[in-house]
Amino acid sequence: MKAFFNPGRARLCRAAGVERARIGSTESRPTKRSVGLAIVALLLPLTAFAATKGPETVVKPKELSLVRVNVTGQPYDFVRPWQKKAPFSKRALGAVLPGGRVLVTADLVANQNYVELERAESGEKTAANVVVVDYESNLALLEPTDKKFLDGLTPLQLALDTVVGDRLAALQLESTGALVLTEGLVTTIQMTRYPADLGQFLTYRVSMSLQYRDNSYTVPLVKNNKLAALLLRFDQRTQVVDAIPAPIIAHFLKDAEKQPYRGFPAAGFGFFPTRDPQLRKFAEETGKPAGVYVTSVDPSSPAAKAGLQVGDIVVSVGNNEIDQNGNYVDPLYGKIEFTNLITAKAFAGDTLQLHIQRAGKPMQMDLALTHRNADDYVIPPYSLDRAPLYYVLGGLIFEELSRQYLREWGANWMKDAPQRLVYKDRFQSELYPEGNRRVVVLTQVLPANTTIGYDEVAYLTVRKVNGKEVKSLADLAGAVKQPVDGFITIETEEDPKQIALDAKQVDAEAEALMQNYGLPALQRLE
């Protein structure tokens, strides 16, 4: 909930989301593959032995329910928004599901140009389409263009009943097509943040010594020949796998039956445990200690519409009592954070009954859950499969601030990206409570005749252009067309506070600027 002041703790706190590396690289590396082969020869008998002896994880190797998935991805370059980065290929394993569909992680197909399925045993290939992708739950569904391509493969059913103590087997393939099985123990089932960093999702934590395979970008985990989870992240140091559990997959698949796809619901309020007796007293809580203290309510969120207020104590959600830590008793998992009732158990469009206490008085309200799109944020939390918007004005580059832009600074973007922009992203609901806008940033300057003297300018927040308020790149593009006395003036929040350009010179130099810096276009507004 809050970064600790102590640097060591802070790192520990954040590690869950950022530092854990995925297995496998983002590129296929032929040199490594040959090394892998040699090791495999030794390992195969061992794993086969383990598989036959293991209590609940027997997989009949001949009944393959897997296909290889080859993806060529090409991310957009948010620093040079007019271009894409170099393409790269990823290989993974997809889980074959009933209905001729293949389940993979959304990460795998993010910014994809081309997706191909490959039969492991025959090497036969076909192109595939991405039917649904959900970056928040990190899941995607693929469909082969050749409908018969998956014939002969047994679809995987979901194992929804995994509990702590169960053994799951990770499925990987050798380059020969032979199955590699690795077993692990489910040690924890808890709510964590997924890579998109939006909301809490149910996660299995499995202790497992997974080995590198060139196709391990998506790794299915099975239990009794049923799909129990998909690999989310793997920490090589601690040999801990975090996996997207079957209940989340089931939720995604059910959602995917309906068009348009709705996505996982969100309630839109922040909360804090009520373990502190002083806080309980302050909130005038009566009865037995229970519930969570509401710290924030996002404007126009389901919680706001239901009438929830800061200071309320939420004591039950959908008739599940919530304890002081924010946990309810799940029939399968025991105590787990109540956010599971929202993300895993409810759908956008559902109504959940909240029981609250306000100043000691019990109340109840109906929470009509909706999905919050990335676009509904002032600074979108992710932006994939979509070209970034930009506007070039005489060498000044303007973009709408997004977390995708900040992520260009790498895994440590929170520390390395321009701190002022990180601050704006982090506290966006506080800084822009009215919402319904974007933050336009002058990100960089391409030196040209129009921008002489502005070359040190970067990361400035635009307030106004030609005296007009700028709340989106479209606002900027509109305002730019109305110069005042032949000048285009830009007001910025930060020093130097004002920049002026000669409108005629900007027009005259546009062609040369495009040629010189290889800009295919001076703007992309949608």
């Binding site: 809050k2 970064a3 640097p7 701190q419 002026a500």
Partner: protein
């Protein structure tokens, strides 16, 4: 008018926490024969090496400082004791000049001179942390007997040779190195880490222990060696404080008090873009600097505004790259202000809304900058209440905790420029919690910034101390941003007070005083 830079310059003050090794006493005086080249033939007369600066041993002083570094993570502690070696030199009036960082946080100072086995206790007469200079005095009259005071020169020519004298790496004997003047420019003075002044880069090898030593040319002091890059950043880059800065310091203290540097309290930008110049209605005469932010707590607050163009300062035309010509060379515009003193006026020719006007500004210092500077000879301020440690944000606090909290870093970075100090002259942070049954549920509040207590705004640490001293059934502490209030029951806090103090060896509940209450030895009086 501050320029920010992130440099890894280290101060050249040799700190030696170990017990110092005593070498056998050296024979007094300069009697050792200078090593001369091996005579090739008896007929050749080997000339002794030229010593253009005279016998510097008679002016150079070796300074040993025992300092106590405050501990911002346990602010009630007195801090760690360290010993360091620096250099200094005698100037007129039986005074010793050295760097501020050589004597900062010192609890005991001794000086030694060449060829004299005695260590003489010394005291700080004046210290200027913003320009890293200090003057010492020695009670014993014997010390200055036969010592030769050095005099100051001007700014040496580029490429001319200079010699640096000092005690690099703490040795007992004087060391000399030579080099040339490489560059003369504004540079960040890392001792305070917010002040930039003129500094001269020299190629003479200088190392920790050279700090405070004179850099000489033709028998005159051309500067005081003070900082350099560590070898892994850049090599052969050392800096000395030039004589204009030294003379300003000596003039400032001539009234018995050091007033600090003065400032206009503005940020400005260059005005090199032709379109912007036309838009502002300026002539094509390459003049003017654009005012960005006017610091409300600064001297220009009522005279300048954002968007003003500064055309001239004290009748020196300001070029569009924000430089002026002074004494025949181009320097950054602030240099005109740098040479002035508290209460002096500066005249600015301003272009506002396409009309000229002239303003006169009485100069002073801009206090919010001090919160971003390193503090020396101060005691950390703090309040411990119910095991919760509250401290004001400062550079020293940032150094001690290296917080990763985005909000705290923002409040520090934009404290002055976004005028955060207007609402929070001190940004009071709950930095730490000393665990106790009474505060066991409060860990998540750590690293929050206090906004108000029982509805009263907390602008300074003193406000917080006062709020907690009031009679109340409970204290509701609101933090900045989303988050639950922190609620404290004074009765519980009171019941735990002695237990927490004892368990964590917190000697005193709070310190609101900045000045250390250090006992002054009878012979150590401070002006």
């Amino acid at each position: 008018m501050r320029r920010w830079a992130i440099l890894s310059i280290s101060l050249l003050f040799a700190v030696d926490a170990r017990a110092q090794q005593k070498s056998p006493p050296e024979p007094p005086g300069d009697q050792k024969p200078t090593p001369s080249p091996v005579a090739q033939a008896p007929s050749v007369i080997v000339a002794p090496p030229a010593r253009p600066n005279g016998p510097i041993q008679k002016s150079l002083v070796r300074i040993t400082s025992t300092e106590v570094e405050p501990d911002y993570r346990a602010p009630w502690n007195s801090g760690g004791v360290q010993r360091g070696i620096g250099a200094g030199f005698v100037i007129e009036g039986n005074r010793i000049m050295t760097n501020a960082h050589v004597v900062s946080n010192s609890r005991y100072l001794t000086v030694e001179r060449d060829g004299d086995p005695n260590k003489y206790p010394a005291t700080v007469l004046f210290v200027a942390h913003d320009c890293d200079l200090a003057l010492l005095k020695v009670a014993s009259a014997d010390f200055f007997k036969n010592m030769v005071p050095l005099t100051f020169g001007g700014i040496p020519e580029l490429e001319s040779t200079v010699s640096a004298y000092g005690y690099p790496l703490g040795g007992e004997r004087m060391s000399v190195t030579t080099g040339i003047v490489s560059r003369i420019d504004f540079t960040l003075y890392t001792h305070s880490s917010v002040d930039s002044h003129l500094a001269i880069q020299i190629s003479a090898q200088i190392n920790p222990g050279n700090s405070g030593g004179p850099v000489m040319q033709d028998g005159k002091v051309m500067g005081v060696a003070f900082q350099g890059y560590s070898g892994d950043v850049a090599q052969g880059v050392a800096y000395m404080i030039p004589t204009p800065v030294i003379r300003r310091f000596l003039q400032d203290i001539s009234d018995g008090h050091y007033d600090r540097y003065v400032d206009l309290g503005i940020t400005y930008a260059k005005l090199q873009n032709p379109a912007q110049r036309h838009f502002l209605g300026l002539k094509d005469d390459d003049r003017g600097a654009l005012v960005g932010t006017v610091i409300a707590a600064g001297p220009a607050a009522n005279s300048l505004q954002a968007g003003d163009v500064l055309l001239a300062i004290d009748d020196h035309p300001i070029a569009s790259d924000a430089t002026v010509e002074l004494d025949g060379s181009r320097v950054d515009m602030p240099e005109v202000v740098e040479r002035k003193f508290k209460g002096d006026k500066v005249k600015l020719d301003v272009w506002r809304d396409k009309k000229p006007l002239t303003v006169n500004i009485e100069l002073g210092s801009v206090w919010p900058y001090l919160y971003l500077a390193h503090g020396y000879d101060v005691k950390p301020r703090y309040v411990v209440y119910g095991g919760l440690v509250f401290q004001p944000l400062s550079l020293d606090l940032i150094d001690a905790y290296a917080p990763t909290d985005v909000r705290i870093r923002h409040y520090f970075d934009y404290f002055v420029i976004e005028q955060i100090y207007l609402d929070h002259p001190e940004v009071v942070i709950l930095t730490n919690i000393l665990p106790d049954p009474t505060n066991t549920y409060l860990a998540a509040y750590r690293a929050s910034i206090v906004d108000e207590v029982n509805g009263k705004k907390i602008r300074k640490l003193d406000d917080l101390a006062a709020a907690f001293a009031e009679k109340a059934d409970r204290f509701v502490v609101r933090m900045i941003g989303d988050g639950p209030p922190l609620v404290l029951d004074p009765k519980e806090v009171e019941s735990a007070r002695e237990r927490i103090k004892k368990r964590y060896n917190v000697l005193v509940d709070q310190n609101l005083e900045e000045q250390p209450s250090k006992p002054t030895p009878a012979d150590q009086t401070k002006n």
